[in-house]
Amino acid sequence: MSAETTAHASSNRLAMNRLGLWLFLLSDAFTFGGMLIARFYLWGNTRPELNQQLGFLVTIVLLASSFFANRSETAMQFGDLKSFRKYALLTLGLGAVFVAGVLFVEWPLAGAHVPVNKDVYGAIFFLMTGMHAFHVITGLIFLWLIIRKADKGLYTAQKHWGVEAAVVYWHFVDVVWIFYYPALYLIGNLVK
């Protein structure tokens, strides 16, 4: 096989990988979108009593993690493995803070006002934040895997599809939260 053919096949594979990832994200977006529609259908123009400051804080943490994810991918594109590791670990750390904030601080606080088994408020809140937190946790595992693989020297500036996929997935989780945060915490009249 000539070098040109090999390069063409590699380029084709990358294009297919990207298409596959985006199709997966699109299908996942329908799941998240369905839950968002359920929120507007069941809650209407109301919202339960939730800690808005805490919601804002975890939103900023997730945005910051997306910024560092972008930096880690850029570092890898330029073969700067040391910076990649630093930024990927920062992304991982901020992601862990987000999950801890939602599961161990927000959930107990929200549970006092909106128990999961009482009405549609608790059911929708815990469904949406739970599904999102599950995706954040899988993103954290994905990030941890690419850091391990990078440590083993398996990625280069020329070949790092795993890094690109993990980072794109991480940003997708961020995009979901961009819509979930106002839908859960900000939109609607407070229900006492």
Partner: protein, 80 residues
Amino acid sequence: MEDANLEAKKKEKYGAGVTILILLAVASVGEYIIAVTGQNLLKVGADMGFVLILIGVFKAFLVIRDYMHIGRLFSNGEEH
């Protein structure tokens, strides 16, 4: 010479990432202020929903275009 070019390109990409972060942070703070002010002071919280969704669409657009690089999907896939 080539190293200097690469370093300049890397700095440019890092800079673009910072710009997007600033835009996202400003939009997030704006979203929060609009919601809280609307609910507590103006008592028009419920009417702010559409504005907040528009801000969300703007933020999502930035992330999808500049952080997720959706444009790569339509390129010829030769970046790496």
